[in-house]
């Protein structure tokens, strides 16, 4: 299940950088520092998590630090589903 989430996230973020997956940072690396995720993109990511992954994201969690990397987002989805 967690692997599926990671794969979906990789596909989502690959779409943001023009489709070349080889340019995507490793799962544990910062999407924020690489300039792939910023405050403007948070709402769209939260919408994805809520609609496609079925997790409810409370307002207090909507911050870049929560979704810093693919690993962090996947862990967050797993924890919220549990």
């Amino acid at each position: 299940m967690a692997a599926d989430v990671r794969e979906s996230l990789r596909t989502y973020f690959t779409g943001k950088i023009g489709g070349d997956r080889s340019l995507l940072p490793k799962d544990g690396e910062s999407l924020v520092e690489e300039g792939i995720l910023d405050s403007f993109g948070l709402a769209e990511l939260v919408a994805l998590l809520e609609q496609d992954f079925g997790v409810k994201v409370p307002d207090s969690d909507i911050q870049l630090a929560t979704f810093e990397s693919i690993d962090r987002i996947a862990d967050y989805v797993t924890a919220r589903r549990a």
């Binding site: 950088i17 023009g18 340019l23 300039g35 405050s39 709402a43 919408a47 994201v57 307002d59 911050q63």
Partner: protein, 410 residues
């Protein structure tokens, strides 16, 4: 009481020394609250009472938010809390004496206000943060007494930083017990603060006079700046942009330094804003406590949970216009906010475009020339937005005249 001067220095020294006495923690906290009240009282005897009324009302709303009141009901409860934020800035409340002595000396161009609302711009934002976080986390960051100490904390009450309660709490147990490291860091901060605000800021204020006095009627007739050359106009523009930074960052340094002497570690408020390669990065270095407040409590809630491509742009415009109006509810500050919102929006559109050519984006990010170009562009954009509020924020005709001078169109 002037913000920097003999009486202020004696007041700070007295509080710092009193807090260093071997007193129980509760006595130190009571002492600090009394000092906070005295600081407001110096400006107007009614100021502490107005603070108390606002703060207690906000605490009551925060308790309800922590118990689950949310949405429209919570919004309606927050509306009265906005009264001290905007009421004193409306023109019919203008007090000429305070304009000259109080607002000007805060150095952050907050505009006019009456003395008994002194500090309201900041303690109201802190109160709203307390309420909104209580709703989000279903808990209060601080008990009532400590909340009052935090929200009226005198080094920050006039001009920030808008220290967050959860961050303030981290060092609160050390109140009145500064370490050697605190004393060393506090001394350095006070030194750099005075250097920025008094020495460099003082010089820049002189060089900025052609813009800050532009359009004023001269005693012998005529208008100040009417015959200014375009290069003089640019020098004054650079000076006003750098003055705004030095003066405000200097005050923030002083607030942080004084706090360190009390054992309290506040969050940094400035981080080289004019050395940033984009307008989005500029706001990660300028008045950070306000910038993060706007992001967390206006921009992100306005964005919602939507995949809409347009909504973040509207949120940037809306939140920055509100940011401008917080500084002063007039046309100049509204346009200033709109310009920054538009800048952020355009930068985001550009970022999206560049992000889809990720290899190029990474290459540009590593290029020194590209970074320098970005810095120059960002600095000039921000500097030009200062013309909207540095001349006369209510008379845009003067701003247009100054812009014509800058670009040789006069």
């Amino acid at each position: 009481m002037e913000l920097i001067g003999t009486s202020a220095a004696l007041f700070v020294a007295g509080v710092v020394l009193a807090l260093a006495l071997p007193l129980p923690s509760v006595a130190k906290r009571t002492l600090l609250l009394a000092a906070n009240a005295a600081f407001l009282w110096f400006f107007d005897p009614l100021a502490p009472l107005l603070f108390l009324a606002t703060a207690l009302a906000a605490y009551g709303v925060a308790r309800l938010a922590a118990r689950g009141v949310h949405g429209v009901a919570l919004g309606a409860l927050c509306v009265p809390l906005l009264v001290p934020l905007f009421l004193p800035k409306l023109s019919f409340f203008t007090d000429a004496g305070v304009v000259a002595s109080g607002a000007a000396s805060t150095g952050n161009m907050v505009g006019v206000r009456v003395a008994y609302f002194i500090g309201a711009s900041y303690y109201t934002l802190r109160a709203l943060h307390f309420v909104l976080d209580a709703g989000r986390k279903r808990a209060l960051h601080l008990p009532l007494f400590d909340y009052l100490v935090w929200n009226s904390f005198f080094p920050t009450v006039m001009a920030g930083p808008i220290e967050r309660a959860d961050h303030f709490r981290l060092s609160y147990a050390s109140l009145g017990r500064p370490t050697r490291e605190d004393l060393a860091a506090g001394t350095a901060k006070i030194f750099t603060g005075l250097l920025k605000k008094v020495v460099i800021g003082g010089l820049l204020a002189q060089w900025a006079l052609p813009i800050t006095t532009f359009g004023a009627l001269r005693p012998g007739g005529g208008m100040a700046g009417a015959h200014m050359a375009w290069h003089e106009a640019w020098v004054a523009l650079y000076a006003v942009a750098l003055y705004a930074w030095m003066d405000f960052a200097g005050y923030s340094d002083l607030a942080l330094g004084v706090s360190r002497f009390m054992g309290l570690r506040l969050a940094e408020n400035f981080d080289n804003p004019y050395l940033r390669p984009s307008i989005a990065d500029f706001w990660k270095g300028w008045h950070l406590s306000l910038s993060f407040w706007i992001r967390d409590y206006l921009f992100l809630p306005m964005c919602g949970r939507s995949a809409s491509k347009v909504r973040p742009h509207l949120a940037a415009l809306g939140s920055m216009v509100l940011c401008g109006l917080w500084h002063g509810p007039n046309l100049g500050w509204g346009l200033w906010g709109l310009a920054h919102g538009a800048g952020l929006s355009i930068h985001h559109a550009w970022t999206l475009k560049l992000r889809s050519h990720f290899k190029l984006k990474k290459k540009l990010a590593q290029s020194l020339a590209w970074r320098v170009f970005g810095m120059a562009l960002t600095f000039h954009f921000v500097a030009l937005t200062w013309t909207l509020v540095s001349i006369d924020a209510t008379r845009m005709g003067l701003t247009v005249a100054y812009l014509r001078l800058l670009f040789g169109l006069a």
